[in-house]
């Protein structure tokens, strides 16, 4: 048995003391008002004549005492909120290790499943997450002074280890579901004797020995967007296609309203009947013009989870990339860059170039007067004697050679750059990521990826070679431009921490606030904690990331991967928890007080 804010023995002691105090107060002879009467003769007669006392007269004092004890007990229980057995109610220890045996180490780890399904509403109006928080509080309070570690599947450890329950309480107040799909848990992960994993079992996770699973699962009806994305246009007159998948995870058929908006314009608004467990996919053609932001919403009567009712997608290519080519041979690059709607090139000669509003610059065999802060593609810029080279062999990140048919490309010569040469190009040169296969290892492509400046340097010339005719070169060119134009790969992602290769200046969340970034070497970890559009910025370029929570695993609230015993136990405890029981105890205490007061006023009880 555990109590909300104290150890078991403390809770029992408090209850015992409260009852003892109630009995003492009940039996305490309060000095009654003193009244002088002419004579006690008649009172003596009345009291001594052994008048017939009814059964109620004989037991009413005992009944009143019992009422007083019940009132005290109800109020004490309402305040202490003890929980019998497992502190969290429906629980089961993983493998063959019962929960109690796992307490060889004093530390207690409480891990909350922070997947989005935890936001599902339950029958009593609270969410699975609310239940999980309540259980976590009970577990933390019942730790009895032991160290507690609090973690979520999305954020890892968020507090502790600490014996200070108030810190855990404060952490529980500030955390919330934010995705996270940690695939496994083990007792050793947090160095804890007992690891409590509070989950609804929406996602499959492997659990190590000694992990006690606490279930907050309660089946619920839901309607969700399980997939929403945009396929880029393959023709000049098309804006692409939106793909939408809607599912009715309810036990009954219901009509689902589906609405897609592009900016403020409505693209689709229909009501479709969906059977129980049925899903429907739609492909919606998109116009060339319009807002790049696409939103889809579904609504239905039985819908326990809100977060998967809306999904977003970004339409690529709707806003052409502003590209400036600084070259004396624009005719070479013209056909290369004019084959798609996503790029709006401007050609200028080196003599006429001045930095403008362009998002990307290609410097062909020339250098700007001042280092460019705009992402740039430099092509054989410095006047360094070319050396003989052959083929691409080493391909590193970013994968600029993705899709490049190396067999079609022949590199006859490349320029060797010294550190001084590269300094002229950038503020700080970066290692080579592409080299040829010869012993001289002459680099063919330099990539510089820093938040202040991002550039790609081709050491081989396009104009002075036959590269224009190599089938793989346009692909290499496109890869380079895409990488420069998009700090992160655009597309749709699931919520949770996302790791991106490369660096960028900042990421702005759906709420317009910057998102804290964690840089680890060449990788940046971005916590995509909410659904909606995120914008990653680097120089004048930016990438939009669409984050959607909808997922068959998350949205199907009828399903859980918990063992059957836990599922039924959770359902039972859920049913019994229509309202918090301590509230019932408090109400019972008040009712008993009212009854005692009423009967006392009428001298029915003592």
């Amino acid at each position: 048995m555990t109590f909300s804010a104290m150890a078991t023995w403390q809770g029992l002691l408090v209850i015992a003391l409260a009852i003892a105090a109630a009995v003492w107060l009940f039996l305490l002879k309060l000095k009654p008002p003193q009244i002088v009467v002419p004579s006690l003769t008649l009172w003596r007669v009345v009291l001594d004549q052994g008048r017939d006392r009814s059964l109620w007269d004989r037991i009413r004092k005992a009944v009143s005492l019992v009422l007083a004890i019940l009132i005290t007990l109800a109020i004490a229980l309402a305040l202490l909120r003890p929980q019998a057995g497992s502190p969290a109610g429906a629980s089961v220890a993983n493998a063959n290790h019962p929960a109690g045996d796992a307490r060889s180490n004093a530390r207690v780890a409480i891990v909350l499943d922070s997947s989005w399904s935890m936001l599902a509403s339950t029958s009593n109006g609270s969410t699975r997450w609310d239940r999980a928080i309540a259980r976590a509080r009970a577990l933390a309070s019942g730790a009895g002074g032991e160290e507690v570690v609090l973690a979520t599947t999305a954020d890892g450890v968020v507090e502790g280890p600490t014996p200070d329950v108030s810190l855990i309480e404060a952490a529980l107040d500030r955390i919330g579901p934010s995705g996270g799909n940690a695939s496994g848990l083990s007792r050793d992960l947090y160095g804890a004797g007992t690891t409590y994993f509070i989950t609804d079992g929406a996602l499959a996770r492997s659990l190590g020995d000694g992990v006690v699973v606490e279930s907050v699962f309660e089946a619920a009806d839901n309607v969700a967007i399980t997939a929403f994305d945009v396929r880029a246009a393959d023709t000049l007159d098309s804006g692409g296609q939106a793909f939408l998948s809607v599912a009715n995870y309810a036990t009954v058929p219901q009509t689902v309203r589906i609405a897609i908006t592009r900016g403020n314009a409505s693209v689709l608004d229909v009501q479709v009947p969906l059977g129980a467990g049925e899903s429907q996919q739609r492909i919606v053609p998109l116009d060339r013009s319009g807002d790049a932001r696409l939103r889809a919403r579904v609504s239905a009567k039985a819908n326990a989870l809100v977060v998967d009712d809306e999904a977003v997608a970004w339409i690529p290519g709707v806003q052409p990339l502003r590209l400036t080519v600084v070259s004396n041979a624009p005719s070479v690059f013209g056909p290369l860059l004019a084959d798609g709607p996503a790029i709006a090139p401007t050609f200028v000669s080196p003599a006429n170039y001045t930095p403008g509003r362009e998002e990307l610059v290609i410097f062909d065999r020339t250098l700007p007067a001042t280092p460019s802060k705009v992402p740039a593609l430099f092509i054989a810029t410095a006047a360094v004697p070319p050396i003989k080279t052959r083929g691409l062999q080493t391909l590193s990140t970013p994968d600029l050679a993705a899709g490049v048919d190396l067999m079609t490309m022949t590199f006859d010569a490349a320029r060797r750059y010294s550190a001084d040469d590269l300094s002229a190009v950038a503020f700080s040169p970066d290692p080579v990521t592409m080299t040829d296969g010869r012993s001289e290892r002459a680099p063919l492509v330099y990539v510089h990826d820093e938040p202040e400046q991002r550039f790609v340097l081709f050491t081989f010339s396009v104009v002075d070679s036959k590269m224009m005719f190599a089938p793989g070169f346009p692909v290499l060119m496109k890869n380079a431009i895409d990488w420069l134009a998009h700090p992160v790969p655009p597309g749709t992602r699931a919520p949770g921490p996302a790791t991106f290769e490369g660096t960028f200046e900042s990421v702005v969340g759906p709420d317009g606030q910057p998102v804290p970034l964690t840089r680890i070497g060449k990788f940046t970890v971005v916590p995509l904690s909410h659904t909606g559009f995120y914008e990653a910025r680097a120089g004048n370029t930016s990438s939009t990331i669409a984050v959607n929570a909808g997922d068959p695993d998350i949205s199907d609230l009828q399903r859980t991967r918990l063992p059957e015993a836990l599922r039924t136990a959770a359902a039972t405890s859920s049913a019994s928890r229509g309202r918090p029981w301590w509230l019932v105890a408090a109400v019972l205490g008040l009712l008993l007080i009212a009854a005692e007061w009423f009967t006392w006023q009428r001298r029915i009880t003592v």
Binding site: K29, L30, K31, P32, P33, Q34, I35, V36, V37, P38, S39, L40, T41, L42, W43, R44, V45, V46, L47, Q49, R51, D57, R602, R603, V606
Partner: protein
Amino acid sequence: MALRFDDDFLKKLEYLHVVSKRAFAGQSRADRLAPKRGTGLEFADHRGYAPGDDFRHIDWKAYKRLNRLLLRLFDEEQDLPIYPLLDTSKSMVAPQKFDQALKITAALCYIGLSHLDRVSMIPFADKLGEEQSPGTGKGRIFRVFEMLEQFEAKGATNLRASFREFAGRGRRRGLVAVISDFLDADGSEAGLKILRTLGHDVFAVHLVAQADRDPSSIGEVRFVDAETGERRDIDITPQLAEAYRGAWQAHTDAIEQFCGRYDIGYVRADAERPFEEIILQAFRQGRFLA
């Protein structure tokens, strides 16, 4: 407390007189008919002359007609001994009860004085107190007031001991008005029976206060016996209060029945009732005053 009656009330009292069911021999000439023939003004009867009789009472006219010596007899009008026995035990100290008793005593005294009766006020509690005789004549009422003002409530009630002592003093028979609440732990019957046995005409004036009739509070209280100081914690429930009221009613009924059985006049005087109303209505209805 200053006992004073207004003039109107005193005038009303003068029209009243204490009703005695029997005639008692008095000491002095007064308004009340004595049981013996005497020297009054009212002719009562004739009887034959016997040697030694006063010649002045021979009815010579009758001698002339009947040729017999007959003696004229006259009613004797004497005073009535009135003994207001005032309960001065502490049980009378309840609000208004003692005051009411003093007023009633004063009124009886005034009525008696105005008819030249001999009034002797005697307080009692657990024993008989000092007899107070103001004299005769209604002018002595102020002396009565002064005497009554000296009375104070003290001691427990013991009617039997007090009246036994009253009997032991060997007074002339007369009208005894017992003004009491009759809250005697040993019962009031024995005491009243003593008075009745002595041949007095006894009237019981039963003073009752609201506090005597009905419990003043509901709940846990500590009652203190005003006479003995005994304390008793009592949880007064509605049922218990009802039982007390029943016991009280039985108590008063028992006194009244006893008085009826022993030819003792019984008048109940509620302390809360206006005093004039008690004197002018209740006492007359109880045939104590006429």
